[in-house]
Symmetry: C2
Subunit: 202 residues, 2 copies
């Protein structure tokens, strides 16, 4: 299945600015992307990265600096079924992607923490995305309005997009990709002496 992986490199990962410099944040965004692509490579998904700037990866890249909704909605009009997988799902593994693909429904949603939509399968071209605000809720509404069936996939790995220092805890603990080693090389590690774990940079 054709799979869009949108990557916005305009000012990526700003919520990590207490830990990483702007160039580091850009690099880290591509490290997460590489981990997503490694997981995708072990599935039947046929990926194309849609990026705001050139990026060097082993899959086709299409440059497009329009807002995310316009990019994805045009792609839905052009071709369904279509999957849309966020580029910062650092914990995604082939199993979760396969179960996304294997779930029935005109629309299949893997919610992200905080009301987001981290991965989607769209099998009916009447669907439209709206990634602003509480997109999970909006996507349910849009599907209902257009009489489309919706399935929701329950996955901690797919729910974990990587935006904040707290999200790095999940990467360090659960990712089997390259991101944990990259973070550790940058001096970032779990701090476990407090009541609740945090991340620190040395």
């Amino acid at each position: 299945m054709r799979t869009l992986i949108p990557l916005d490199l305009t000012t990526p990962k700003t919520r990590l600015s207490t830990l990483l410099s702007p160039p580091e944040r850009e690099t880290f965004a591509t490290v997460l992307l590489e981990d997503v692509l490694s997981a995708v490579a072990e599935t039947d998904l046929d990926p194309v990265v849609v990026a705001t700037e050139p990026v060097s990866v082993d899959v086709p890249v299409r440059l497009d600096d329009r807002p995310l909704d316009a990019v994805v909605n045009d792609a839905i009009s052009a071709e369904t079924p279509l999957a849309i997988v966020m580029a910062d799902l650092g914990l995604a593994e082939p199993d979760q992607l396969r179960s996304l693909l294997g779930t029935d429904g005109d629309v299949v949603i893997a919610p992200g923490r905080g009301g987001g939509t981290n991965a989607l399968v769209v099998r009916d071209d009447a669907f439209r995305v709206d990634y602003h605000g509480v997109s999970f809720q909006d996507h349910l509404r849009i599907a209902r309005k257009r009489d489309l069936s919706v399935s929701v996939v329950d996955s901690f790995r797919l729910a974990s997009d990587v935006d904040t220092p707290e999200d790095l805890i999940e990467v360090l603990l659960h990712s089997r990709g390259t991101a944990p080693a990259w973070l550790r090389a940058a001096g970032i590690r779990l701090e476990t002496s407090e009541e609740r774990p945090t991340v620190v940079r040395e």
Copy 2:
């Protein structure tokens, strides 16, 4: 399978103190417990709530005010297989609990966000719990040291224990239990006008 549901009512849900008063936090803790028990009731799990104070629910309650580790480790010594499910898994549903039960391994872990251990199945009495700090990591280590096999269950619902205002977003969006209505009756709702959703109390 015998299933411990530990409930600490000493000072429950302190991280919700910006939104809820102490008596409200205690009530909310029991609302979450009731939702967990409703999910458990649809499975083969045989629940016993182990509480620091009396609580009125439709399943057996055992009073025990010792630290969590002591309570759970004694229970493991007394009886395996044993499941341990946290009382604040407000998004847990029968499907996730069944898949926990149906997963092979001497130890089956459903990790919580932030390095926690939200649900466990222990099938070998050589295992011991240590819920302090990054318990997910500690539980992997303890199992490895004692040559026990470990499986990890990937579930957003089981990963979502309810401790912080941000966690209430997940409850309001994804719970099919009674907690969302309780929160709404208390005037708590999703605020979606900002870039990222938050919860507010009116």
